[in-house]
């Protein structure tokens, strides 16, 4: 399941379940629709309720990152469980998109954005 809310000009996307090709498609369609209608530049992806991720999920995340980058925006990921974190790490996506582990990371990331 994919839920979105907008807070302080940022789009917060929360995913729950297994981020495989089914949810990856839902994630892509949901985010692209919001980005089409609104000039949002900051996306925070909450993966705290995600138990599983595979390459389809990673591809969808990277694709949304590229969309945001095109409009001068940014993206960050937080809440990844160890098994999900490991896949993010192995994929190399963490070199491009910040993956935040603690609230300290999140505060630092916000400060850097300003």
């Amino acid at each position: 399941m994919v839920t979105v809310k907008i807070k302080n000009d940022a789009l917060i996307v929360s995913i729950s379940g297994d981020l495989d090709l089914v949810i990856a498609r839902e994630f892509r369609d949901t985010v692209d629709k919001v980005l089409k209608d609104k000039p949002i530049k900051n996306l925070i992806l909450d993966l705290s309720e995600v138990n599983f991720i595979d390459s389809s999920g990673l591809g969808a995340i990277l694709g949304r990152y590229k969309l945001l980058q095109q409009r001068g925006g940014r993206m960050s990921i937080w809440g990844a469980k160890p098994s999900v974190f490991r896949i993010l790490d192995l994929s190399g996506i963490m070199k491009i998109i910040p993956v935040l582990k603690t609230t300290e990371d999140i505060l630092r990331n916000q400060k850097e954005a300003k």
Binding site: D20, V22, F52, D54, S56, I87, S91
Partner: protein, 152 residues
């Protein structure tokens, strides 16, 4: 119960629907969980199965729902062997397909085979254009893992 010498075999065929990837993943995970394996092994096997079955649906059948995907799993002497079959378009150049970050789809990262290779002990692919693809994944199952410890 000691599951060390467990021998088991399952076979499953299903429509090439995206929703069925989770089904295959859960089925194989439950089979492997009968063994004294680690949670880490279990996670890795789930990713590998997800990649192979997703590829059959996405590439083999080009996202058309009227294909059939076959999954077989065999456990013998602590070795798990999973075979994923499709009767779709096939792969022209297997070596190129298995190369890291190679993808025929610009929206994909080409990581499927990377994960299969890093999470399984061996990945073998047989394919013929216009006939289909068979992916054989093997992994030695480590014994006395946390799954069994939790279960006890």
């Amino acid at each position: 119960m000691t599951a060390k010498n467990l021998e088991n075999y399952i076979r499953l065929e299903f429509s090439s629907l995206p929703e069925n990837v989770a089904l295959a993943r859960v089925l194989i995970a439950s089979l492997v969980a009968q063994l004294d394996t680690t949670l880490n092994d279990l996670e890795e096997i789930k990713v590998a199965v997800s990649e192979a079955v997703s590829n059959a649906i996405i590439h083999g059948y080009q996202n058309k729902p009227d294909g059939i995907v076959g999954v077989e799993a065999k456990i013998k002497d602590g070795l798990l062997e999973i075979t994923v079959n499709d009767w779709g378009v096939g792969i022209e150049d297997i070596e190129q397909a298995m190369a890291p970050t190679f993808s025929t789809d610009p929206d994909r990262m080409g990581l499927g085979f990377v994960f299969m290779k890093s999470f399984m002990d061996s990945v073998h692919v047989e394919s013929e254009v216009g006939k289909g693809t068979k992916v054989i994944l093997q992994k030695k199952i480590s014994e006395n893992g946390s799954c069994a410890q939790i279960a006890n």
